[in-house]
Amino acid sequence: MKNITAIILIILLSVSFALGQGALSINVWPSRVDISVVPGESRTGVISVDNKGKEKTQVLCYITDVGMDIYGELLFPEGGTLATSCESWFLVNPENFFLSQGTNQKIRYTLKVPDNASGTYLASIFFHTKPQEGAKNSGSRLSVRVGTLFVINVAGTGHKDGELSSLSLHNTVKATTAQVELGVLNKGNVLIRPKGTVEIKTNDGWTVDKLIINDDNQAVLPNSERIFRIPLVNIKPGNYNLVAMVDYGGAEILSGETMVNLVATEVPRHDWPIPQSKGPIKISGKAAKPIEPVVKLSPEEIKSLYSLATKQYTAGDYQSSLSTWQKLLKADPGNTTARKNMERTKTKLDALKKIKG
């Protein structure tokens, strides 16, 4: 009787254990590695990968660069693509392994910093499960990928430099949910985390709102630009002066101001009047960027352009794809997905140009 009870208990325990697991699950540690090194130095470390899923799985390990588009979308292009790439500094072992259910694999990495390295470099070591070969069903097989992010600072070589690159209004759904867009250009070779405010002032100098920039401490990567968007809440249509003050941790506080016209309208997206700066943007004495006129296209035409650009991208015709994205965005500047795709296409093109020399 005791034996039967024990067997039942074991079965119940096994079932409950299995129910508590997902079909696919990997745990990677550490999630992030911050290293301060000197040129010429070598470091080694270990990353631990656990299979917490139900099945044995094959895991591929590879290193990518880490980039960011203008709106902060993370990009992981092939190693060696970006200026902040340090992929070639790494050796990892093993790069391909099988993990049975509940088992663990230690991956050793060695990092050799070149003598001429300076500033901040980024990489991600990814652990990617191979999709399970199952019955041939219609639909999608799934895989998971977990990255360990490396932020490598070469000690004593970093310099901070930044400027405000743009300050404008951007409409989303309607004027009352418009957003202020503030662009920060990181001209230095280390990460910066700009913080600050944009005051919305009436023509007679009254402050109607004060927006906080980058409250969650996000980064702008070296030698790149990032646009921060802050939604406007309960601001009536009218003419306003936007006044920005930004501290990026450098020698000076960045400041800029521009006049904008907030328009109340709920017409369909492709017909929106785009709020334009009335005068030049006064940013650290630099001239404003000219704003291109809006081209009007029907939603069908925009959809068609979107489809064309995607096809061109998929076919590897990045130059044509870029032109199509640009054409689309002239007609639909608020199309964030198209903008992201355009940035990706640019990244691909840049990478190809580098490869071709």
Partner: protein, 169 residues
């Protein structure tokens, strides 16, 4: 007899010494525990099968729950991508990207970006500052929506969708 007395005396003396120990004598026991690092993603299914459909049909939406766990306080995001369009390898036809989309949901306080699957990983969910550490796990539900184009050729359409968990710099 003398020896027996002597032995008894020694025993009594030792016993007396032991009993005379101070009552507040303490001993330390070192206690330690190692907590493992948690940075994981778990999918509740390994594949999504939409079954057999007619051209022009809208498939019953399929849910995939991605549970993210982290016991390090870092910003993170969930990205999605496909290796190709849903493709019929025999008829050499594929279902356009716009016909296969996802929408996100669940208890997260972060930001979902819904849309199509792209070849390049695209952020579907960006965690809120309150979710930098989600040791208990945050279940993110992605609902996959498929419409079969009216002129789609008969056959099996497949691809691979990858869920990427990554820290942000």
């Amino acid at each position: 007899m003398k020896k027996l007395l002597l032995a008894s005396l020694v025993v009594v003396l030792f016993a007396g010494m032991a009993m005379a120990q101070p009552a507040d004598l303490t001993a330390d026991v070192n206690v330690q525990v190692t907590v493992n690092g948690v940075w994981s993603i778990t999918l509740d299914v390994a594949a999504v099968d939409f079954g057999t459909l007619e051209p022009g049909d809208i498939a019953t939406p399929a849910n995939v729950v991605a549970t993210v766990r982290s016991n390090q306080k870092i910003p993170w995001g969930l990205q999605l991508n496909k290796d190709r369009d849903l493709t019929n390898d025999v008829a050499l036809e594929s279902i356009p990207s716009a016909n296969f989309t996802y929408t996100g949901g669940g208890p997260g306080a972060g930001l979902w970006t819904n849309g199509e699957f792209f070849l390049a990983p695209t952020t579907a969910y960006l965690c809120a500052a309150t979710e930098y550490k989600v040791a208990a796990g945050l279940a993110l539900t992605t609902t996959l929506n498929l419409t079969i184009p009216a002129p789609a050729a008969a056959g099996l359409y497949t691809n691979v969708i990858t869920y990427t968990l990554t820290a942000t710099p």
